[in-house]
């Protein structure tokens, strides 16, 4: 499509997808403090423009080899991702760093999800800014986070990938540390140090690969690029730990409950909705793609840890007494399913992981929005004080019930496909280990249902508690506007998973071809 150095319309679109939120954040920084509302509106407009441009990246995908519906076998000699659009500019030759962006079926759904959730969060902030105010700065920080996440999903240069991976860290820290709950400082610091620990290992891993291969081009590197076995294993270990921290994979998950619980609603939505996906996306595209030999050797370990995450996450959830903390811990279990899918290294598993990623982003985003709405009204997140929500706020309780049922993986809703097929993929792998893992993961699925139903019983049913009786049941239009797209997507993805699977099928096939 794109000649090296030449920039076509798709390239401009890619640059705009990353550039628009950056431009928005810069613009917001120049707004005077008294124009707070105008600044928030401007930020939301930039987020909306990003979503439009990001969604338009699919244009032109159909006539491409790695396209929308046309699944053709990978041409010999051209392994790796075959992006729909590419932008490839020289940046720092001394570090093998090129400004190389590209979008394909693996990254596209995540790009749209990121842009959508950021827009919804900005829209939500138009309506209400969490204490201590200064919504302008919060919107600007969300846009910077968006730059980092989108850049991570779009980067086709390993060093550039690392750069964007790092961009997210400090703005997220600030979002938690300034607008968070009572224990925000500690939670934010824990988040920053944990994730930096992950990303410095990512740096070493990325540079191990690039110095050994002499290039940082992800397209050329996918499939191992003839790297020696030892290098691949070392690189995979470093990269896997780095992404495991971000995803997060048990036992490196301990930053997550604190960060998600303490973050403001919009922070939790972005954190759970898309930030975690940087880890799983990186695992598929970078760790598995670049060091397949290492991935094969470490698959069993990864699978065991993933199943441990599912079981531990579910069991811990059963004992949680705080709404947001419960939802946060549920992410550990759900991401466990995604990682199990990746660990199988099969087409079914990777497809399950990709749709599970998107579904988790949509459902958990919705859950955190709802949890924020409940906490804003009842001024408590304690499950013991929240009984009887159905009595006083039936619509809110209904939506919470819908999201919880979607999260437990009811067939027909978005959560089902990823989790069911992760188990199927593990089962298909065969052998005593993977069969056991599939069985245990299925048990974990049952436990997921158990804790979410417990959540519903505690929160929506039973006699109304004093805190719930006094809350205002009316839902603001802004809230409904923020939730409606997520409810809709949960239904649509549940009924027509082909929307995501159709896009991911070809690149997953190509990836498996390349790493075989």
């Amino acid at each position: 499509m794109t000649g090296l150095g030449g920039v076509d319309l798709g390239g401009v679109g890619l640059a705009a997808t990353v550039g628009l939120p950056a431009l928005g954040a810069l613009t917001l920084a120049l707004f005077p403090a008294r124009l707070d509302r105008a600044a928030r509106i401007t930020g939301t407009v930039f987020a909306a423009a990003t979503l439009v441009v990001g969604a338009l990246l699919a244009v032109g995908a159909a006539d491409h080899a790695g396209g929308w519906s046309a699944h053709r076998p990978a041409p010999v000699g051209a392994p790796g991702p075959r992006p729909w659009h590419e932008l490839d500019l020289a940046w720092v030759p001394g570090l093998d760093l090129r400004f190389h962006l590209g979008v394909d079926g693996v990254s596209y759904p995540l790009v749209v999800l990121t842009a959508l959730l950021t827009l919804l969060c900005c829209g939500h902030l138009l309506w209400r800014v969490p204490a201590p105010g200064r919504g302008r700065t919060l919107v600007a920080l969300l846009l910077v986070v968006e730059v980092g996440i989108l850049g991570t999903f779009l980067a086709l240069d390993l060093v550039l990938f690392f750069l964007f991976f790092e961009v997210v860290l400090l703005p997220t820290y600030a979002v938690i540390a300034v607008w968070g709950g009572e224990d925000r400082r500690r939670a934010a610091r824990k988040f920053a140090l944990y994730t930096l620990f992950g990303s410095v290992l990512l740096l070493v891993g990325v540079l191990t690969v690039t110095t050994a291969a002499g290039t940082a081009d992800l397209v050329a590197l996918t499939g191992g690029a003839g790297l020696p076995r030892g290098t691949q294993l070392a690189a995979f270990t470093l990269l896997a730990i780095a992404f495991a921290v971000k995803s997060p994979l048990w036992p490196l998950h301990t930053w997550l409950p604190d960060a998600h619980t303490q973050a403001p609603t919009v922070g939790s939505v972005i954190l759970a909705g898309v930030l975690l996906k940087m880890g799983t996306y990186g695992l598929i595209r970078v760790a598995v793609g670049v060091a397949p030999e290492g991935a094969r050797r470490a698959a069993a370990v990864l699978g065991i840890l993933a199943v441990a995450a599912i079981l531990v996450g579910s069991l811990v959830c059963l004992a949680q007494t705080e709404l947001k903390r419960l939802i946060a811990y549920s992410s550990v279990g759900h991401m466990g399913f995604v990682l199990l899918g990746i660990a199988t290294l099969s087409a079914t598993g990777l497809q399950a992981a990709l749709i599970g990623n998107v579904a988790h982003g949509v459902i958990t985003g919705l859950l955190f929005f709802l949890a924020g709405a409940v906490k804003d009204r009842a001024h408590t997140g304690d499950l013991a004080d929240l009984g009887g929500l159905r009595e006083s706020a039936p619509r809110l309780a209904g939506l919470l019930g819908f999201a919880a049922v979607a999260s437990l993986g009811l067939p027909g809703l978005a959560g089902f496909w990823g989790e069911a097929f992760a188990v199927v993929a593990a089962w298909q792998r065969g052998g005593p280990l993977w069969t056991t893992l599939a069985g245990l993961a299925a048990c974990g699925g049952a436990l997921t249902a158990a804790y979410l139903l417990r959540l519903l019983r505690r929160v929506t049913h039973g006699p109304a508690s004093p805190a719930v009786l006094t809350l205002t049941p009316r839902l603001a239009g802004a809230e409904l506007a923020a939730w409606a797209p997520l409810v809709l997507l949960t239904l649509v993805l549940g009924l027509a998973p082909a929307l995501v699977l159709g896009v991911t099928e070809a690149p997953v096939g190509a990836l498996l071809e390349a790493i075989r």
């Binding site: 961009v167 860290l169 400090l170 300034v178 620990f197 740096l203 070493v204 540079l207 690039t210």
Partner: protein, 538 residues
């Protein structure tokens, strides 16, 4: 020895050194004859600018050598020398700009201050071109000697005198150690020229069997490690930085540290212009002046200790300048880390050595830029002529002064090596990359993990800057007098009419300019790091 007595001197090569020394004399004369602060400062600015410019022009002209004995030369105006000279001139200018409030408040005598700074700059300019151990040590001492006085030059307070004494004693010991090492090397080989030293050592008995040479090499490296404040030769730095006026602390942690790094690189890596100097037959690499088998392990150990100890101790600091001091100790560890790759055979190949030296130079450039910006922001946020103060004194500072606060956060985040401080991020990338290229993956992991520890304290300071202002500071300037140290509450601390906080004295424009220039440069090299990489690979 062999050369004729009446050798010709290439005065063009020496031009930057002449100009730097001339600046010192000019400043002294201006102070005597005109006796006005403006004239003194003007003379310094003109002289330093001319020095920097001359260094660049001479550097562009190609390699020039002078004071040669055979093929070995004592003064080599190479590209690296031009870079070092230019950096020293710029850093001196920056530090002078930071010192303007101090001079204006009459805290230090302007003439003496500028003279000493210019002398120190002269040492730095010569250091970059030094081609033998003696010139190296003399240049380094010329760089350091004026600093003993500068540290203690303040008219009030004993902290400065204490700091100066600490610095003086430690530094003299370090110089003695370096000289002893140089003497032993001379005894073992009979040469002092860096370009001849490697060959002489390689030609003689293997270094392992020549204890004299090994001890000499280790002593030289250790002596120079004092100057970069590398652990375990670092103890002087925090006390000295904290006792010195903040601009002098800035000079110590940027220019003085740069001097140490340049000296270390000259003896450990290929000395300036070594490749062309002794001109060995093509194919055989020029040996490093000191045997890499000896210096490599020493440097690897020192680098690991330096970054780890520096970062861990910085975690517990309560005072701003001490925190910056410990952080700059840790940063010295990152600078030395690429040279630690010399510990392994794979790191000693000529290409790996070049990469390591270039990485160390590049990291140093990124570092001095960010460090100068950090110190400039500290000066701008503090009352005139105050010391660095406690970290809690900065609470809410970024809310009172958004731009200066943002610049300080950018510098700190850059030192931590994270976006948006892209300059610092690329600096870390360069170091880790060079280590991996030299097969020293373990050291790369140590560097990476240290970056995590580093973030913990940088982010603490950044959080304090953006924390809500303490209630006391809104009460007005009465509170200001109690929170500022006694020596600052002199004539300098004039209250500001706006009454918006304790440090609400408008910073001098020179300080703001220095801060702005350093910040803009940091942002520019953050987006175009290739500039620094190309320059440092010369």
């Amino acid at each position: 020895m062999v050369g004729d007595v009446s050798q010709t001197v290439d005065n063009v090569a020496l031009l930057p050194a002449y100009l730097a020394a001339g600046t010192a004399v000019l400043v002294l004369l201006a102070d005597l004859a005109v006796a006005r602060r403006g004239a003194t400062l003007g003379a310094f600015v003109a002289g330093a600018a001319a020095t920097g410019l001359a260094a660049v022009l001479v550097g562009l002209d190609g390699v020039r050598r002078t004071f040669c004995v055979g093929t070995a030369c004592s003064y080599q105006a190479t590209g690296r020398a031009a870079l070092v000279g230019c950096l020293f001139a710029l850093l001196s200018l920056g530090v002078l700009a930071l010192s303007v409030p101090l001079l204006r408040a009459g805290e230090v005598p302007a003439g003496e201050y500028c003279f000493l700074l210019a002398c120190s700059m002269t040492g730095g300019v010569v250091l970059g071109a030094a081609g033998d151990l003696i010139t190296l040590v003399v240049a380094l001492e010329t760089l350091t000697l004026p600093l003993y006085v500068l540290v203690g030059l303040r008219r009030r307070g004993v902290a400065g005198a204490e700091a100066a004494l600490t610095f003086f004693v430690v530094s003299v010991v370090a110089t003695a150690v370096t000289l002893l090492g140089a003497a032993l090397l001379y005894a073992a080989t009979g040469v002092v020229h860096l370009s001849a030293l490697g060959t002489a050592l390689a030609a003689g008995p293997s270094p392992r069997e020549s204890p004299l040479a090994v001890v000499g090499a280790v002593l030289v490296v250790c002596g120079l490690a004092f100057k970069v404040a590398a652990v375990p030769f670092h103890a002087w730095a925090p006390a000295t930085y904290d006792g010195a006026p903040v601009p002098v602390a800035a000079y110590l942690s940027t220019a003085s540290k740069l001097g140490g790094v340049v000296a270390l690189l000259a003896v450990v890596g290929a000395g300036p212009g070594a490749a062309a100097a002794s001109a060995p037959p093509a194919g055989s690499a020029t040996p490093t002046p000191l045997p890499a088998e000896v210096t490599g392990p020493v440097l690897a150990v020192v680098a690991v200790l330096t970054m780890t100890v520096g970062n861990l101790v910085a975690l517990r600091q309560r005072r701003m300048v001490r925190l910056l001091a410990w952080s700059s100790v840790a940063q010295a560890g990152y600078v030395l880390a690429p040279l630690g790759a010399l510990a392994l055979p794979a790191g000693r190949s000529p290409e790996a050595l070049d990469t390591a030296v270039a990485a160390a130079v590049a990291y140093t450039i990124f570092f001095v830029l960010l460090e100068l910006a950090a110190f400039a922001a500290v000066v701008a946020l503090r009352p005139v002529a105050a010391d660095g103060g406690e970290i809690t004194d900065y609470q809410g500072a970024a809310r009172r002064r958004p731009w200066i606060g943002a610049a300080l956060v950018l510098a700190l985040v850059g030192l931590a090596g994270l976006p948006p401080g892209l300059a610092g991020l690329f600096a870390k990338v360069v170091v880790v990359r060079s280590l991996l290229a030299g097969d020293a993956g373990w050291l790369a992991v140590v560097v990476a993990l240290n970056a995590v520890v580093g973030l913990a304290y940088y982010v603490r300071v950044a959080a304090v800057l953006y924390a809500p202002e303490p209630a006391a500071s809104r009460a007005g300037d009465e509170a200001a007098a109690s929170t500022t140290p006694p020596e600052a509450a002199g004539p300098a601390a004039r209250p500001d009419g706006s009454g918006s906080g304790p440090a609400a004295v408008r910073p001098a424009w020179a300080v703001v300019t220095a801060l702005a220039v350093a910040t803009v440069l940091a942002i520019v090299v953050g987006f175009a790091p290739q500039l620094v990489l190309s320059v440092s690979a010369m």
